[in-house]
């Protein structure tokens, strides 16, 4: 889908914030602070600003960056990052055939406006937020809807923390709290890590041994926002009293102050130093979580930097602050000034995730090549002067394996289906259905694959699985009953060169180089096995190659 | 839980607390004395006719759990995990006879012949031993039960009963096998197989639980009732339905099998002395149970909730009362309205 123009829709909504526990009424319209939005930078300007910061840094460090990556690699990279899968050969050909100067921008917007982006980013955010509790389809779909409707991140945060959780659509939002409500430590630490980018767990027993910023008061201060929270059986509530008591490292018992990471302390009835004079009537109980949301958005640096940093890590392979839950004064951000600027822009612009993503992937630094054909050492990752290899996540890999072997249907809607989509006003319905179908099949392969983590390591378990498991071998076996499987289709081709070319195009999403084509063709012809078997072998080699395994 | 407004057919009338678990009991009809013993190896006595029955501690002759008691002509014959059979004078409390190593394993059950001339004991050596009731002389040692479970683990021989005519002995084990023996010759007459009483979990826990914990002949001697627990879903506990099977032991055919949702093992069952009712007691995941089944059909007529979990029950010969022992002590139940 190609938008004809980028139109900013400004919606005016008045909301009441201070002192109330209920949040705003309308959940479906994207809410933007009117004044902020109309003066905020376009994503192109943000992208340029990102590049500006980065390029200054490279100059200062005298690091020559890698060149921009080629078109095919770009297409593959952006499709994996925005849709969670490799491109189809049709998409590849369309892209190759496009001569326009802004062809990359067009792809970016095609993907962002398409139905798959919310499905993918929704899952990514589910994993980011829920960690070991990720994968619950209600919560995943809730996050997917948030992305589809481009709901601002601060609203999503508010909804995760406070609700309302009254409708079927909003109910899954309580799951972050609900899964953690029974263990205060986990709730406090996870919330602080995920939403504020800070790991305070070491500060529980004593002032943080590694980070001067965090003391026990910070740990218990954050815990105090959550200690009245109840839940664990699907229903999340909040008691009206109760304080956290802890043993200081001097062995004496203290009652914790309700304190945010910045050191700002909360009183019982008002947030100290807040700009509003409104106080709730004496009989209205104060919700600590409401206070947390208020402060977090008021002192918005941690909140905005955390999500910006995490998304940066997602797209660029490494956070600006690394690790992403170690934001503190001694841990400098990699490109001086960039995270701070980007986060402030994000907050001022209404916490618009789509705008942020668009800016990041439109920047040059995102589009650098991962090749380093120089004699000098590869610059370290914190310079972002060359794209790193990013392992595909289990989801991306299993999905892409099915596509690469022709075991996944992603087709354009036919005449009837298009008409259906127009009638129900849901563009992309067929694609959504196909995507979810593939995702379900892929879930069968996923557990045996290595997960994308910060310290990714390949295991023999995945290698054995890909090498020997009947399920994976079936994907590359000739099956006359499965006409769409790639092996079956390719095995019919008489001309080996053509066969090899198609294999490379489908699996690696690019044209083969001439020398490569010759090498592989020679290899193919040398094999004494039946043609169908060798075809399967070739596919296997390509699907298990490092080039396929990593986003490069 | 007895609803005070509605009249229950059975009613707990007295209870005597006891720490530990009582596994064994026997009742002297004449004197109205109920004896019990168990984990602390001591024998206790309760005068069931007293206004406020209380447990009186008598003697401690065993070195380990007492598993069964038999009342015989003024003597209490006891068997225990210490492998001993001990005859004690009820009046004096003195040991009259003691057989060490009466078995090569925990003695699980002892029964007296109706004529009072012999006793028979079963133990984890998987042997059935018949002795002279007075002298203790070993008359027969019968081997017929498997010495291992099908999976190669230790098994147990839980229960023994003698037919009312004294001609047949029935013994039952952990894996659900019942042997019927000619009481005179010791010949193995028949095997009955009731594997439903034994659960080996090979998937989740790699071990077993269950067993036929009690066998009892019907008053006319034609039927044999077995009690235990049915298929257990979680072998960490008695998490399975109570189970009773009724067999025509002469033909070797099962008459009926009855399970109830109440998750428990039935540790002991007996026939009501005067009515066509089976009574069994036990306990498990659903709590304690004292149940009453219709003898002909196996239908559960009434289920009472005892204190604690029951190990053994003794109905009074006139069927008016029932005595039970188990975890928590002695209990006296009225069966008048059954």
């Amino acid at each position: 889908m190609q938008p004809s123009a980028r139109i900013l829709i400004v919606v005016f909504l008045v909301t009441g914030l201070a002192g109330s526990i209920c949040s705003e009424d309308s959940a479906s319209a994207s809410r933007v602070a009117s004044s902020a939005r109309s003066t905020s930078l376009s994503f192109e300007r943000v992208a340029a600003k990102i590049d500006g910061f980065v390029e200054s840094h490279w100059s200062a460090k005298q690091v020559p960056p890698a060149k921009l990556t080629d078109d095919a690699t770009f297409l593959r990279r952006i499709t994996l990052d925005l849709a969670g899968r490799i491109p189809t050969t049709r998409e590849l050909d369309q892209f190759r055939g496009d001569d326009s100067k802004d062809k990359r921008d067009k792809v970016i917007h095609r993907l962002l406006d398409g139905p798959e982006f919310p499905l993918h980013l929704g899952s990514v955010l589910d994993e980011m937020i829920q960690g070991r509790h990720a994968g619950n389809s209600d919560f995943v779909d809730y996050m997917r809807r948030n992305i589809r409707d481009n709901r601002p991140w601060d609203l999503v945060f508010r909804e995760l923390m406070l609700g309302p959780w009254d409708t079927a659509e909003r109910k899954p939002a309580n799951r972050f709290l609900d899964k953690r409500a029974k263990t205060l430590d986990v709730l406090a630490v996870d919330a602080t890590r995920v939403f504020f980018g800070v790991d305070i767990s070491c500060a529980k027993c004593h002032d943080h041994p590694l980070v001067a910023d965090w003391s026990q008061d910070h740990f218990y201060g954050m815990a105090s926002f959550f200690n009245r929270t109840t839940g664990g059986n699907g229903k999340v509530g909040e008691k009206t009293e109760g304080d956290v008591k802890f043993l200081g490292s001097d062995g004496k018992e203290k009652t914790a102050q309700v304190m945010f990471l910045t050191g700002r302390v909360v009183g019982e009835h008002a947030v100290e130093g807040s700009t509003t004079d409104e106080k709730p009537p004496a009989s209205t109980p104060v919700s600590r979580r409401e206070q947390l949301v208020e402060i977090a958005l008021d002192e918005r640096n941690f909140f905005s930097r955390s999500i910006v940093n995490r998304l940066w890590r997602y797209f660029l392979g490494r956070g600006l602050v690394h690790p992403v839950d170690q934001m503190h004064s001694a841990n400098d951000s990699a490109i001086p000034g960039l995270l701070e600027w980007l986060a402030e822009d994000f907050a001022a612009g209404g916490y618009d995730l789509r705008r942020l993503v668009t800016a990041m992937v439109s920047s040059k630094v995102y589009q650098l090549s991962s090749e380093w054909p120089h004699d000098s050492d590869v610059p370290q990752a914190s310079l972002f002067a060359v794209a790193g290899l990013r392992p595909l996540s289990r989801r991306q890999l299993s999905f892409s394996i099915l596509m690469a072997t022709g075991n996944a249907e992603l087709s354009e809607p036919d005449e009837i289906e298009s008409r259906v989509e127009r009638y129900v006003s849901v563009p992309g319905v067929q694609r959504i259905r196909q995507y979810l179908t593939i995702e379900k099949t892929a879930a069968g392969l996923a557990p045996s694959l290595d997960e994308r983590t910060d310290d990714f390591q390949s295991s023999a378990v995945e290698a054995l699985f890909m090498s020997n498991n009947p399920a994976t071998q079936a994907l590359i076996a000739v099956d006359d009953g499965n006409a769409s499987s790639l092996v079956t289709q390719l095995a019919r081709l008489v001309e080996t060169r053509l066969l090899v070319k198609e294999a490379v195009r489908t699996v690696l999403s690019r044209e083969p180089r001439d020398d490569e084509l010759s090498q592989l063709t020679d290899w193919f012809e040398r094999q004494s096995s039946p043609r169908a078997t060798t075809t399967g072998q070739l596919l296997w080699v390509l699907v298990t190659s490092a080039e396929f395994r990593f986003n490069h | 839980m007895a609803d005070e407004k509605e009249k229950q057919p059975v009613e707990l009338t007295a209870a005597c607390e006891h720490s530990g678990i009582l596994f064994a009991s026997c009742f002297d009809e004449e004197s109205g004395m109920l004896y019990g013993a168990g984990t602390d190896a001591a024998v206790y006595r309760v005068d069931v006719n007293a206004e406020k029955p209380a447990a009186e501690k008598l003697w401690t002759h065993h070195d380990n759990y007492v598993s069964s008691l038999v009342w015989l002509k003024g003597m209490v014959i006891s068997g225990g995990y210490d492998r001993k059979l001990i005859w004690t004078s009820a009046e004096s409390g003195k040991v009259l006879r003691q057989i060490e190593n009466a078995h090569d394993g925990w003695i699980r059950d002892v029964a007296a012949f109706p004529g009072g001339d012999r006793i028979v004991s079963v133990a984890d050596d998987m042997l059935v031993r018949v002795r002279d009731a007075e002298s203790g002389e070993l008359l027969m040692s019968l081997q017929g039960h498997a010495r291992e479970t099908p999976q190669g683990f230790a098994t147990a021989l839980y229960a023994v009963a003698v037919s009312p005519d004294g001609q047949t002995i029935a013994t039952a084990d952990r894996i659900g096998d019942v042997c019927l023996w000619n009481a005179e010759s010791g010949q193995l007459l028949r095997r009955l197989q009731a594997p439903a009483f034994y659960t080996y979990d090979s998937t989740k826990r790699s071990r077993s639980i269950g067993g036929i914990r009690s066998v009892c002949f019907s008053p006319d001697g034609s039927q044999l009732a077995l009690a235990g627990i049915g298929a257990v879903t979680n072998v960490d506990g008695f998490v399975g339905p109570t189970r009773i099977e009724m067999w025509d032991h002469e033909s070797g055919k099962r008459t009926w099998a009855a399970e109830d949702q109440h998750k428990a093992v039935l540790n002991h069952l007996t026939f009501h002395p005067t009515k066509p009712i089976l009574i069994a007691g036990g306990g498990g995941d659903s709590g304690g149970i004292l149940g009453f089944w219709d003898k002909a059909t196996g239908k559960l007529r009434h289920k009472a909730k005892p204190k604690g979990h029951l190990q053994r029950i003794e109905p009074r010969a006139d069927g008016t009362h029932l005595f039970a022992v188990g975890h928590g002590g002695f209990q006296i139940w009225s069966l008048r309205d059954l």
């Binding site: 062995g251 023999a460 054995l464 | 960490d236």
Partner: protein, 433 residues
């Protein structure tokens, strides 16, 4: 490197950490590319090489075995149960009568009777015991077997580093690799006695299998050439390089290769078979093997359950220890017997015992262990520890020390140094040789 004295958690600052943190901050400009071959890949020194010939066998009694019915009987007490104690080869030390063979071997075994690990829920307790660490929200600790596999494995071995057997589904634990990452993930045997995916795919010849791996490897190496993240590529390739070696270990898992007499000795139970397999693997040089025997959670009918479980355990473990000893392997193999907790002194109304972590036992034998050492005591009813209290971290420290691994040695997670054993843990020196 000198280890300065370590202050315990809850008192003063962690001088050690502040110092090493600063050191690593200064060193931070060195690349911290951790992907690929593994965290802190070192070139083995002579001492490390010698250490690399050591092995460990973790016998995990899942569900909580009863210390009363094994290592710490309480005869004559209400809490003691019906089993009687028997003398062992260690004067003055008795075990439950269900373990006559181990009793005879007690000069080779060390017992810790004084564990107090507090946690009595299965999963958290299993995490605590198997990692030797209380759970932290932000740091995923690896299971000890994974750590040992990493420490003991030789870099270019074609054998799996770690094989873990856990057939019972209840309480099944998959050794967590935590922050150490996938490279050290164990080969899991859950449903069979052979690893999955080591058979040649049907319809494919061995030659075809090799041909395609060779091509895969070539293409991948070329791709990694002159590219950022090439260490990720080499790590990826080295995972595949292990495949054919692992496929060739097929014979190790074939019990038919053992003489019938040996198989008889181990017995025909699943636990016996697995311990025999474990011995084969250890003998072949697999450095870390875990055999889990589940599930000991005898809430009801505790004595019947232990009558079933303990004699099998007694037979198998004694045969295994003797077998290792006869083959000259016991001195270099650390055998660890652990559960997630013990069982209650009180016997409940279903003649069972429930979970208990305040006083329970574990046992060790082999490498670095002082056979016949009995550490710690519980009170006469087995309710509390009377002497020599130890916790899960102390056990971990003991295990590392027994194998010659410094429990204070640091791994690094990002910039954070993480010692193998918790900073305030103390190895139980009584049982160390």
């Amino acid at each position: 490197m000198n280890s300065p004295s370590i202050s315990t958690c809850g008192s003063s600052e962690h001088l050690l950490y502040r110092r090493s943190f600063l050191q690593s901050v200064l060193a931070a400009n060195a690349t911290l590319q951790i992907g690929g071959l593994g965290v802190a890949a070192e070139t083995p020194t002579g001492e490390a090489l010698r250490r690399q010939q050591k092995r460990a066998l973790f016998i995990w009694l899942a569900g909580g075995s009863s210390q009363f019915e094994t290592w710490d009987p309480k005869p004559g007490r209400e809490t003691g149960g019906p089993f009687r104690p028997i003398q062992t080869a260690v004067p003055g030390y008795q075990v439950c009568e269900l373990m006559p063979k181990l009793a005879g071997l007690m000069q080779k075994i060390a017992v810790v009777r004084s564990l107090n690990t507090v946690i009595t829920a299965h999963e958290p307790a299993a995490d605590l015991i198997s990692t030797g660490r209380p759970k932290e929200a932000a740091l995923d600790y690896p299971e000890m077997g994974v750590v040992l596999a990493k420490e003991l494995a030789s870099q270019d071995s074609l054998l799996p580093d770690y094989v873990s057997f856990f057939p019972a589904t209840e309480g099944r634990r998959r050794p967590a690799t935590g922050f150490l990452g996938g490279r050290h993930a164990p080969l899991l045997l859950e449903n069979s006695m052979r690893p999955g995916d080591i058979d040649l795919p049907s319809g494919l010849s061995d030659l075809e299998h090799k041909e395609r791996e060779d091509l895969r490897q070539r293409l991948s190496s070329e791709f990694g050439n002159r590219r950022a993240g090439s260490d990720l590529v080499s790590g990826y390739n080295s995972a595949y390089a292990k495949v054919r070696g692992l496929m060739r270990t097929d014979h190790l898992f074939d019990l038919d290769r053992e003489p019938a007499a040996t198989r008889e000795r181990y017995g025909r139970t699943e636990f016996g078979q697995q311990c025999l397999l474990a011995r084969r693997l250890l003998e072949a040089g697999v450095p870390m093997v875990k055999v889990a025997r589940g599930f000991w959670d005898s809430h009801h009918d505790n004595f019947e359950s232990h009558r079933e479980l303990v004699p099998d355990f007694d037979n198998v473990l004694s045969v295994l220890l003797t077998d290792l000893d006869d083959r000259g392997l016991l001195d270099s193999t650390l055998v660890i017997v652990l559960s997630e907790f013990g069982r209650t002194p009180a016997i409940n109304k279903d003649v069972g015992r429930d979970h208990y972590a305040a006083a329970w036992s574990s046992a060790f034998a082999g490498c670095g262990i002082q056979g016949g050492a009995i550490h710690g005591r519980t009170d006469e009813d087995g309710k509390t520890v009377a002497d020599g209290e130890a916790n899960a971290s102390d056990v971990a420290a003991t295990i590392y020390t027994a194998l010659g691994i410094d429990p204070r040695k640091d791994y690094h997670v990002g910039l954070r140094p993480v010692p193998l054993a918790k900073e305030d843990s103390k190895p139980i020196t009584t049982i160390l040789s």
